[in-house]
């Protein structure tokens, strides 16, 4: 890592007696946007809350900008957080909401209001300053929450599923704005989401979390192309990657990676890698076809049992009940150990 942004070293945390984080190691470089991705209950929000100091650690250290803050109270960590619910103060105007953090830290009122205006301009909500949260739409509240987070120039921004309450179009728009804002500020950000598309689009690096453990950390490309486990492979990508026993009905064609054992491994391939008219393919029947604009997803059951999903151009989609021959090339295939689920590295 270059300069220290945020470091979690062996951090464990518990909630009501149950361990929710198991010795999590994460290093976020200064100016980096790390997305913490995982299903609900994986401990994503706990990671943020531990960094913010809202939740105590049961082990490990938290360092922000090189400073050990493990024992520091939240107010002394110089982090700001955007809550999923935005946590705006309903009785304060937008300007007062944004300036709150400055005013309780005894910044003169005029200075605080001026900086609040600047922050509001940065996220495009300067025209809302005199309104109250009750008068704002979801997207506007989101902007105000962002402005409130960046008014104080913190060392780390923590964003807890900030886009999850927005409708799709707005989410896509805000996602792009968030990324642009990050690039403009050069801020260190940790963004939590369960939405894999959001993670892939937004992140410098993604940390995939599962049951309180870090499953894989890597760039979106690495996560997509070399998933470290079947969990990551199936969690990222929609529909999820097909997983079959290597000695099952679908035999990939072409040159196999060197040394792949014939037993005890699983092969995974994404729906877009499936070929439906392979000469030596496995026999399958089309159960169901979903058309999404230009693409179609064909849900197939192999004659030998397991199900496979294929993505095909909508124009060349098979009909329901049609018989197809499923094939895939080794080049598009991932190999995992069947027992541990970990990626097979030759």
């Amino acid at each position: 890592m270059s300069e220290a942004g945020l470091d979690l070293v062996g951090v464990s945390a518990a909630y009501r007696g149950a361990t929710v984080l198991h010795e999590v190691d994460l290093a976020v470089a200064r100016g980096e946007l790390l997305v913490v991705l995982g299903p609900s209950g994986a401990g994503k929000s706990t990671v943020l809350r531990v960094v913010a100091g809202l939740e105590p650690v049961t082990g490990g250290r938290v360092r922000i900008a090189g400073r050990d803050v493990t024992e520091a109270r939240p107010g002394l960590r110089n982090v700001s957080m955007v809550f999923q619910s935005y946590a705006l103060f309903p009785h304060l105007t937008v300007a007062e909401n944004i300036a709150f953090g400055l005013e309780v830290r005894d910044t003169p009122r005029a200075v605080a209001r001026e900086r609040a205006r600047t922050a509001a301009e940065a996220v495009g909500c300067a025209d809302l300053l005199s309104r109250r949260p009750g008068q704002l739409s979801g997207g506007e509240r989101q902007r105000v929450a962002l402005a409130r987070a960046l008014v104080r120039e913190p060392d780390v921004f923590l964003l807890d599923e900030p886009l999850s309450n927005l409708d799709l179009a707005l989410r896509v728009e805000m996602r792009a704005e968030l990324r642009a804002l990050h690039d403009r500020l050069g801020a260190t950000m940790v963004h939590v989401t369960h939405d894999q598309t959001e993670a892939l689009v937004l992140a410098d690096r993604i940390a995939v979390l599962r049951d309180g453990r870090v499953e894989q950390v890597g760039t979106p490309d690495e996560i997509w192309r070399t998933p470290a486990s079947t969990f990551v492979a199936r969690f990222v990508g929609s529909p999820a990657m097909n997983l079959l026993a290597a000695d099952g009905p679908v035999r990939p064609t072409g040159a196999a990676p060197p040394g792949v054992p014939g037993e005890g491994v699983e092969i995974g391939f994404r729906p877009e890698a499936v070929v439906l008219d392979a000469a030596e393919g496995a026999a399958a029947t089309v159960d169901r076809v979903e058309v999404v604009g230009e693409d179609a997803y064909a849900y197939l059951s192999l004659a030998a049992g397991p199900a496979v999903v294929a993505r095909v151009p909508a124009a060349r989609r098979p009909a329901r009940g049609e018989s197809v021959r499923v094939g895939v090339g080794w080049a598009d295939t991932h190999v995992f150990h069947a027992d541990s689920g970990l990626r097979y590295d030759p």
């Binding site: 913010a52 109270r73 107010g75 957080m81 009785h91 709150f100 953090g101 009750g134």
Partner: protein, 303 residues
């Protein structure tokens, strides 16, 4: 909503009936009779005789009535804020889960659950100037029955000012309902707003002043209105049981006690009805004023 058909209308009427009978028989009719009686002389023996505005004119010149009116106003002015503040303080203190909090909450509500007469008798003992525990505590460390500061301990039931304080003190501890409502109100405030404040390193005072108080203000206003109405009633039993309206001159004779005495002891029902009328008008005035403030507040916050 669709128009209820005849059958369900009959059901509605049937289910409303007990309440309506009670409302008419126990509230509206007596109120109408009181209103009518206010303009008569009536002693329960002879039939009521028309007195016109005579009762009201007499009230305006009656020194005892004036004293009771003042006593009631002072009582409401002092006791209501004290009750609401104590309830708020306890609610903020006891809203978290912690060891002993359940017991403390029960203790805060308990005085309200004690029957009023028993509660009055209990305080009669607590207030006893010689062997009552309050004054025994106050005399700790002092000599010759004086307090540590060399002052005479309060003569709770014999000194006019001390007696008024005693009645207020008694009423302050029966704020259980207010406490319960405020406890619920505090617990319903969103947690993330407080976490937000913690991240900004807001002090406890800032959090109270800038977040808790404004967010709870609508509930507080509502409780204050309710308490003002109620305070005209709950001054009755303590004054009746503990101080008997005294010490002279009428130090703890409140409107409610004045009305009771005038009606049931001096058998002047018409006169008592006129005083009741004044008390009701006063209550209505207080409620209207507070409600207006409250509504302006709501519009302001858009809650």
């Amino acid at each position: 909503m669709t128009r209820p058909d005849t059958r369900s209308r009959r059901h509605l009427a049937l289910m409303l009936a007990p309440y309506l009978v009670g409302l008419v028989g126990l509230v509206l009719l007596p109120a109408a009779v009181t209103l009518a009686l206010a303009f008569t002389e009536y002693d329960l023996v002879n039939p009521p005789s028309w007195a016109g505005l005579g009762n009201l004119t007499e009230l305006s010149g009656d020194p005892v009535f004036r004293v009771s009116l003042t006593n009631s106003l002072v009582f409401a002015l002092v006791a209501v804020p004290l009750r609401v503040l104590l309830a708020l303080g306890l609610a903020l203190l006891l809203h978290r889960r912690a060891f002993g909090v359940g017991t403390a909450r029960a203790a805060a509500v308990l005085p309200t659950a004690v029957p009023e007469i028993a509660y009055g008798l209990l305080w009669l003992w607590l207030f006893n100037p010689l062997y009552g525990p309050i004054n025994q505590l106050l005399r700790l460390g002092g000599e010759n029955g004086l307090t540590v500061l060399g002052r005479t301990p309060p003569q709770w039931l014999t000194d006019p000012t001390d007696a008024r304080a005693a009645i207020i003190l008694m009423s302050v501890f029966t704020m259980g309902e207010t406490f319960v409502v405020l406890l619920a109100a505090r617990r319903s405030l969103p947690r993330d707003v407080y976490e937000m404040a913690a991240l900004e390193d807001a002090t406890g005072w800032d959090v109270f002043r800038r977040i808790t108080l404004p967010l709870m203000a609508p509930v507080l206003a509502l409780l204050a209105v309710r308490d003002v109405i109620a305070s005209l009633h709950f001054s009755f039993v303590p004054a009746f049981v503990v101080t008997d309206g005294g010490p002279p001159p009428y130090a703890t004779t409140y409107l409610s006690l004045f009305i009771y005495r005038t009606g049931f002891e001096y058998l002047r029902y018409g006169y008592a009805a006129a005083a009741t009328l004044v008390m009701i008008l006063l209550t209505v005035a207080a409620v209207v004023v507070q409600w207006r403030l409250f509504r302006r507040y709501r519009a302001f916050y858009r809650l």
